[in-house]
Point group: C2
Chain length 412, copies 2
């Protein structure tokens, strides 16, 4: 999506982190002028030969050409370049949209002397308008000649309605070798569960077999991007790609049996969680960051679904916006989730204070600490279902006038 | 739920209809003072001996005592009285909530000299506070002595955040006998699909076997209450009850083979649809009434789910609020529904004008008539999936600042 108004920086924004270089990755940006704006909107990442590729994608069945092609490319497991177009999602644009993507792939492949399938393309912005091929061609030509840029510049260039640039970094020891993982992401609305996510990219110098890299990214996705929601709406273009250049020259990772694989997985999940949280922190109109912890569910997956039912409930989200300890709305949301639950074993808490236990309001419940907690901008809701060992944590933001402001007047 | 502010009458409100008497039904209201307010909040309907009962209820697993008991009472198929408490939903209140309901049933049963199971009780309002037994006792005593009241007075007394009284009436010929069906309903938020509905009551003088009455009400529910949504949140107390006094002395209906059964079913569905529409017209913050028509789906049920995905999408609802013909958001919502769909056979229209056909924007699409249509307050969205014969119609309202105003400051 593309900005149509000067959006104020989210009150939940975090500063862009210091991100070290990743050996084998070079970033460049240029202006394709996909919209009538004064900014870079085409981003290019050049990747060393031998870079391993992994990816997760939206489950929206009306997905874009970029997503359809990306799914195929991930099966091949290798990449030499990434192009990100901002301002036009190229979704629902039929053969003309596909031609534009193929043109970009061919142009970059010619420059790098690689296979077109080694060139990944993502696009984000308005649905239903084919990506203009002439602008793409000039933009790609310009970006291939541009001087390398910083992580923060590249992150700004992939953004649309984002009010701040979102990056995260971590490192891990594989044997004696320290590997770096840098991630950048864009997204603030049309963010929903049960899918991959917005547009996110993780770059590492680690040497990882593509299949194992995919296994790690899918697992991290389950516990991070698939556990956030802003507005329950699932984009047609959501994509997270991982690129591992192998330039760190560690002993290549191919399974969790390998020394350092656990550390690599932990660092990857750390970066993914940081990025997922940043998307929530830039949720359209968000003023509060909400963590919903569900325990005692039938299974972890059931816990995740209950957590998302709470996190997606407009009545829960507006109650938090109003700093209202309305635990009855949490009960309602648990009950509508369609998951196993028992009214009489259910407990609800805010900020560590239990408001209802075993199906009844807590005797002598003192709302004072809860009211104080809800005045802050980091809100914890805990739900214990009391019927099993399943658990999950889900993150969302509140629903405010800001969301209406941004979305009721998007294209005009 | 209970009003905490002076809510302006919905701009989509309709006048209360002229409703004829229904032989065998007497309505009375009184003040139980469940909240600190200056209004009747306890409603009583006395029903003739031999009244047949039918009902549909919320699917929220954290349902109220009233719903649990009502489900059992409906199996018995008979009723002598209905009590509706407004201002306190009595949900999530454990044994104390149950005691209050049993007390009301016993008190009314004693007065009427009937079985307690012949007395139906509904409650609506804040969750988690047991219905105060003393207030209920005084209120019931007062209502049993009150003078009969009008349909409109009773409808006001069952309301909470409602901004207007919602009633509907229809009639049908069974043989030579004209029977009357009157319905009243309350509800404006926490309205969601896949459940029975808000609190609605349908009274008829027709003679109908309870099992057939239930069959008719369940079928009507599938095409009316289960096809509306305001905010995707499903209440713990939603209930629709039907009462058939038999005082019209028609030949009793026991199956669709009976003469007049089709006419009765049509009139019942008419009343249910009118009432369902009125709830949407009073949707919290609503300024536009939206009809989503889905055709070409794999099945009718699949069409209903796709329709509800569109109707529940915050991005679609805010686009309509902003009179924005953003059909891309409709595509997104169709794609996230989790139902069979094919991007390349999908068509989307607004107000009868096709915006996208077979997966592509319509060539030379003129947005003028669409823009004009979206300025009105009755909006039609059509979705053709192009893969089957399934169809459904779903109704909702837009998502506006009014919804945030009402719900971000509900209890304070």
């Amino acid at each position: 999506m593309a900005p149509v108004m000067d959006l104020a920086r989210s009150p939940l924004a975090l500063p862009f982190p210091d991100m070290p270089p990743v050996d084998g990755v070079t970033l460049r940006v240029a202006r394709a002028d996909y919209k009538d704006w004064d900014r870079a909107d085409l981003t290019y990442a050049e990747l060393a030969e031998g870079t391993a590729l992994a990816g997760v994608f939206t489950r929206n069945v009306c997905c874009s050409t970029e997503v359809e092609m990306g799914r195929e490319q991930v099966k091949l497991g290798q990449a030499r370049a990434l192009i990100v177009n901002a301002g036009n999602s190229n979704a629902f644009t039929g053969y003309r949209g596909r031609e534009a993507v193929e043109q970009i792939m061919a142009q970059v492949a010619h420059h790098l002397d690689c296979a077109p399938s080694d060139v990944l393309v993502s696009s984000t912005g308005v649905i239903g308008v084919p990506l203009p091929k002439d602008k793409a061609q000039h933009g790609v030509a310009a970006v291939l000649e541009a001087t390398p840029c910083s992580w923060e510049e590249a992150t700004h260039a992939i953004g649309t309605t984002d009010t701040f640039a979102k990056g995260a970094t971590a490192s891990a020891m594989i044997g004696d070798t320290r590997v770096v993982l840098n991630g950048i992401i864009k997204g603030s609305g049309m963010i929903a569960p049960d899918m991959a996510t917005m547009l996110g990219y993780i770059f590492t110098d680690a040497a990882v077999e593509p299949q194992f890299f995919q296994q790690c990214l899918s697992a991290a996705n389950e516990r991070t991007y698939s556990c956030i929601t802003v507005d329950s709406d699932t984009s047609t273009s959501d994509t997270v790609l991982g690129f591992a250049t192998g330039k760190a020259d560690n002993a290549i990772l191919s399974s969790f049996e390998d020394a350092g694989a656990d550390a690599f997985m932990a660092a990857l999940e750390d970066v993914c969680r940081q990025l997922a949280h940043l998307v929530v922190r830039d949720g359209e109109g968000a003023t509060k960051f909400i963590t919903v912890s569900v325990t005692g569910a039938k299974s972890d997956e059931s816990a995740r679904r209950v957590g998302l039912a709470v996190a997606n409930s407009p009545l829960v989200k507006t109650a938090i916006a109003g700093a209202d300890a309305n635990w009855g709305r949490v009960v309602m949301a648990v009950g509508k989730a369609g998951e196993p639950a028992d009214r009489d074993t259910l407990s609800i808490g805010f900020g560590g204070t239990c408001a209802a236990r075993n199906g009844l309001p807590v005797a002598d419940y003192d709302e004072t600490p809860v009211a104080q907690h809800l005045q802050g901008d980091e809100i914890d809701i805990s739900v214990d279902l009391g019927i099993g060992d399943g658990r999950a944590t889900v993150w969302t933001c509140d629903l405010t006038h800001g969301y209406i402001d941004i979305n009721a007047d998007y294209r005009t």
